[in-house]
Amino acid sequence: MTGQATMATMVTDVLPEIVLVAGGVLVLLYALLAPRRLQGGAAVVAMLVAVAALTVALAMLPGTELVTFFGTYARDRTALWAKIIVLAATVAVIGLSAPWFRRDPRHGEYYTLLLFSSLGAILLAGATDLKELVVAMLLSSATGFVLSAYHRRSSQAAEAAIKYYLIGALANSAMLFGVALLFGLAGSTTLGGLAAGLPSDGGLALVIGVGLVVVGLAFKIGAVPAHAWVPDVAQGAPAPVAAFVTTVPKVGGFIFLARFVIALPPDAAGWQPLVAVLAAATMTLGNLACLWQDDLRRLLGWSAVSQTGYGLMAVVALGSSDLAVPALLFFLLAYVLGNLAAFGVVVELRGRTALADVAGIGERRPALTAALAISFLSFIGVPPLNGFVAKLLLFLVAIQVGYAWLAVAAAVNTVVSIFYYVRVLAPAYFGRPAGTVAVLGRPAASATFAAAAAVVVTGVAAEPFVAAFAAAGLVIR
């Protein structure tokens, strides 16, 4: 095969990514040239780009699963499903952002950042090389920091951004040190090379290397020990950005974590108990912090932390259970949709976030309150919503691989979580409305209702999704 032919086939393997890059640049060009009153048009361009990339990713699903670009990038169905979830979430977030930023005179480039950030998450989901990991982490984090600080004059947004940034920079540096150690130990940076080259008795260096890379990924997915940014960003960042940053990068982070742990030599560095302990700590901490939260956005942030803890149960089971990958993918689907619906309600309520503001909205805005209720019930795991199926699968895989204690911890946490979700929903339905409830507008409402409807649909008709996810392979070489 000639060099050109190989190049051509490799390029078709990353078509969604190319669409995103070109589209992001296109949006930037639009923002450069469009006058101020037409800046909002960038949302339309970005929406078209995201939908195009989504279509390409869907069309690629039946293809063969392989590792392309000299062992550095996976083109398997897990990565493709991750792309589909990320891009669908991006479309929803663009819908939420358009009315939110309507009065911002210069915000065309916001959508460029949004598209590049979802590209970072997608690259993370497909990466099978530590170099790729480094670049994807940077792309997804750096855009996230800027997006969080997008309201430049808002003191809260700046504070959220600097906390996000400082934790991210520390975790990223730690991860880079881990990458350096693993590179020296294995003599390679591809995950295939790590699987072949890492000594199973690598000693302290291997443990530290693996631990530091896991810390970096824990930042990305918002797990202990690098979880502290989640509530701050959820509260301080612009609400559509909060919806984006608490969902999209997590998809990429989880999939890379999954690839990373199956590349490690079996029982090397004791990664399984490590991830299990992180999972238990994350869900418990997130839940406890939620209990007395008086700010809806901050509550959503902490609840996102606890949801991450549940998702880590699937990572624990990877390599030992066939159900682990479908459980992880279905969890990500349920989590992203539920969180988008919940944050969509906050956006649609014009960012009103104190618990007192929510009182009585059930009377004034029944559909919106129903969306909030659906997402919360899905977080709890009430059938027939998709959160129920996700939790069922997660408990199943945890018990399958002998981590029954983790499943018990998750069950206890779930029971505890009912308290704080009801603490929001009860006043929303039975409280007295304080006045009129102003809402933002049609694009935001449509995105919110679409996400809430998807929570119901993927819960009621879960079988085809689980079956499709069960056919998804997780290749590393």
Partner: protein, 103 residues
């Protein structure tokens, strides 16, 4: 090149540890950014040492080192921009005064 690989790795570990300490001990956001740079220099030293002592890793190590440099610069740029943004709001670079949002 008379020393062993271990000596370089120890030095890089020390650099990384100094950076971590500086990050955790300093209150000034700019100092914290500088500490991050120090940590990344430690990382780069380890990578370059691997490349220099293990001939098979030579090319790979150079590429990763360049990547780390680019990552460091990009991160510092975004960090400085955010520090500027918050300084304009709060008139202080001390991070423990950024406490408007609480548990």
């Amino acid at each position: 090149m008379s020393q062993s690989l271990d000596a370089y790795l120890v030095l890089s570990g020390i650099l990384f540890a100094i950076g971590t300490f500086g990050f955790l001990a300093r209150r000034n956001a700019i100092s914290m950014l500088m500490s991050i740079e120090l940590m990344l220099n430690g990382v780069n030293l380890a990578i370059v040492a691997f490349g220099a002592f293990l001939p098979a890793l030579n090319v790979d190590a150079s590429v990763i080192a360049l990547l780390v440099m680019a990552v460091a610069a990009a991160e510092a740029t975004v960090g400085l921009a955010i520090v500027m943004a918050i300084y304009r709001n709060r008139r202080t670079p001390l991070v423990d005064e950024y406490d408007a949002m609480r548990q």
